[in-house]
Symmetry: C3
Subunit: 400 residues, 3 copies
């Protein structure tokens, strides 16, 4: 037919509404199964997806967060006063802060030559020829001079090295731990911003009195006071403080924000949790320490005290999750829910046709085979009549 | 029937194509509603999902980023020269950098005993018995010796403590602010890598002349010069610099990468935004300061100057988002779109059957009730004839 | 009809099962197309979505991670011994660690007045009037005194400034690079925790012997020994170490955890990759250096040595991805798969009606036009009979 007519047909057809023809099976067994499956699917969506998972909300899981930490306290180590100014590094108060609990000091090191430690690979020697000059073991303390000397005031000999002398392993002095540091307090200020929702929240109640830093955190009575004592933190992380003093350790301070902005934003208060982050089980590698040195001059020569400091490092990690009602996800999830219901019929059809439909009543009705066989005009005719007629009738109103 | 036959049937049936039978309703009202709903759904998908949300792209939202910062400048504080080498900490130039704007110095502290501050809980005393020896208030400055002494050159008395003396609250000296620091410039170098797309981008134009550090950032004229003056930053964050000098503050520098790799990657240039991160409203806790000490010896005794430094801390936060066309998400979203259109008929069916379908013409045609009643061979026969026959006809080509 | 009857109908109808009527087209061509499309869709889902993308798992992509780094080694610079205690900053061992490879030192700077560098904008002068007092170029080294003086021991003159003198550009001394640092080793300890799966993993095998720090990393033979030499890292990042000594550079150390907890969790071992993060191509800005100063007093006057340190900065970046079977995603994706199959019929219908269905056999059968024309009782009657009857028959069991 001509293009014009085609267009005409198209425009006539455009405003027709097409709806699938449905066979209604009056079969209780099947009906019950069908409704049961439907019920399951709908319940899942309403209860799990919408209520429990809040699928009707758009969420923001990576907020902008800023952390400020400050450690305060004074402790006595023997007769010496140690306050946080001395123990805490770095002092700038970022999201990682560490305090020294125990020191192993090597005093009065100076650049020169001395005996290598005996544990180092082939450091033990009997004559100079045992020590190759210029060689340096990557685990050793310096470059070998090629001489074989007495190991300090011992009788055996090791290779001589160019290094800061004396070497730490030999001259180190262990200081007692700063047990009193258990009373040090750390003040953690955290401001969080959800760009998508334009909400700014802090872990401190606005317009707090000046005495802020004198309070102590408590989940119920004092959720707005982010001041924790090291003892409290260790306890929360289920660690013995004395043990931490010995080996040092890294403890994660987790600030968890879980906000639902469909309710009052001021209702979103962070919770704090603490967990040790370095592994405990494998002793050799667990713990936390670092080395630094203090340099000074004595009559023209540069000396240093090498300090191996064991301590607690606090890593403040902020988790934020906020949600608020939004149309788009709601629509999408509703659609998914509706389409999923469609799955029921697939299951039920299968059940029906396999188990219930003994004498093929349903299948006959449901399925209507067609195959075009130009060779059999009759058939085609028949079809055309039995169906086409109805068609023409209804559309053109020509009675049979 | 035998398994063999079943298989035969199956293989015959396997290549059949099944398509739902559809009832075409020639009803303008309904048609219009149907098309309207369809139009809405399709528009939503094409416009919102595909054009606005770019659902045809696969995205990468957490790129690998490295930040390098360097602060430069010289300022005069009275007669003294202060350059960034002195003010800026840490000096390593990471993604957090702070500069000191104002100092409160406590000179010549030394370890010893002195009077506790009067504000500390029950520090005020009249006789020694008021001060329990060894006790130390967690808010105090040290451990009590048990003696009650004059509070420095005042008339009243407080408990004596073992600490760095004199205590800060009494002996602190406030220095003027380093107003000239407003001209300090910070150079922020940021390289970003999208592993999924294997694209490496930087916020500096390659092959730039050596004079890089002499330019100033400007969104239009100079987007490739990431050099910002502290004054510019404060202004962008809508903060008074003089105010920042007084209390200090933490300012977030946000580098936002929004890249569409369907167009030329070199077109993706970052934008910079600045916002104060510590809370302003609640005065007691807002602001930024930290303490550090300078140690020195005077005739054998160790002294220190305790410095409480107020300053600006810049937290550089990088947001990256890149997208590029990918087949998978395109397919998935198209499918979702198509299935969603199906929802229309659910709505329209309901409308049709409830409002339009007065004398149940449509429902009759749409729904075809079946219930198997073996007790009535006729019915079944009938069905078999009216339908089955057609079936046999068409398949076996036996005319009625 | 009355509400009561309506309810009755509703309850009767509620247990009915509705299934769409289907037309079976016995047409090989179409059948093949149909199955082909179906096959494609199903394959895509089974192979890509389920096997390759593991859509049946719930995933955790942002685990809690803690990094501890320690650098060790001794090198000789000429006659001087340099160990990591001196070169490495910050010493606390966080996830960013840098070591100094080359220094440019400006010795014995002191506060005073000296000549500005000639390269600074209008610093060159012939008479005092050329230098405006109090002015300070933001690229200069200090505030101008208003005098025009000789540029150190040169013949030409520049403006005098108040600054740390002499200025770096004039007095700087380049030291040789610390080539031996290529043997420095960095020990990277990383513990990772997947909160959703409650799994804690580390990059060190538990119960390792004490000799941990003496091993070297190797992907196959020694995956559990996270000790890397700077030379190894540079090689992995495809950088010349000597080049890094000259300009410095930032290298990213990526620890990639890809864990499948459906198999034994102990099977998830991290892989390490290294890539230079600062841009190489644009020479002026690439590289890594920072400035710091050492202060000292000589007969009452404060001096400093300004050090511009070039070095390697290692940024340790942890990527974590873990998955474990979960019912919810499995269901959702299966549903999506099934619905997607529905798309096939849309395509095939179109093909059928456009290309195959020459003499409108299929369309006749598929589409059944209806339009309510109260004006034609017959039609309606007819419909009612031909269908309604069947209906009544089947339901009431009254034979025709």
């Amino acid at each position: 037919m001509g293009c014009l007519e085609f267009l005409k047909d198209f425009f006539l057809g455009f405003w027709d509404y097409e709806t699938p023809k449905v066979m209604v099976v009056k079969d209780k067994k099947l009906g019950v199964i069908y409704r049961a499956v439907q019920f399951l699917v709908i319940t899942y969506f309403i209860w799990y997806v919408f209520i429990s998972q809040k699928a009707y909300q758009e969420t923001e899981t990576r907020p902008e967060s800023s952390v400020y930490t400050e450690m305060r306290g004074v402790a006595l180590l023997g007769d010496a006063v140690q306050d946080t100014t001395e123990c805490v590094r770095p002092s700038e108060g970022g999201d990682v802060i560490s305090t020294i609990l125990r020191k192993e000091v090597t005093h009065d090191q100076t650049q020169g030559t001395c005996a290598e430690h005996y544990s180092v690979a082939n450091a033990n020697c009997t004559r100079d020829s045992d020590c190759i000059q210029g060689e340096s073991d990557f685990d050793g303390h310096g470059q070998r001079t090629g001489r074989c000397i007495r190991y300090y005031n011992y009788t055996f000999k090791t290779c001589e090295i160019k290094s800061w002398c004396p070497i730490e392993e030999y001259a180190v002095v262990r200081e007692p731990a700063l047990e009193q540091a258990i009373n040090f307090t750390v003040f953690i200020k955290n401001a969080i911003h959800f760009p998508k929702f334009k909400v700014l929240r802090g872990n401190i109640k606005p317009n707090k009195p000046k005495k802020l830093l004198r309070c102590h955190y408590h989940p119920e009575t004092n959720p707005y006071c982010p001041v924790f004592s090291l003892g409290f933190i260790a306890a929360q992380a289920r660690e013995k403080f004395s043990e931490l003093c010995r080996t040092g350790g890294i403890i994660g301070v987790f600030i968890n924000w879980k906000c639902d902005f469909d309710v009052d934003p001021s209702a979103c208060i962070p919770t704090y949790s603490f967990r040790r982050l370095d592994m405990r089980k494998n002793l050799p590698s667990s713990g936390y320490y670092y080395r630094f040195a203090k340099y000074y001059h004595k009559d023209g020569v540069e000396y240093r005290s090498l300090i191996k400091a064991y301590g607690i490092r606090l890593d403040v990690i902020v988790h934020g999750h906020a949600g608020r009602f939004s149309l788009i996800p709601t629509i999408i999830n509703t659609v998914t829910a509706m389409t999923s219901v469609g799955i029921c019929s697939i299951i039920c059809d299968w059940i029906m046709l396999t188990f219930i439909d003994k004498n093929e009543v349903f299948s006959e009705k449901k399925f209507d085979d067609v195959s075009k066989q130009p060779s059999q005009p009759i058939t085609t005719d028949f079809t055309l009549t039995s169906y086409g007629s109805t068609h023409s009738d209804l559309s053109d109103g020509v009675p049979l």
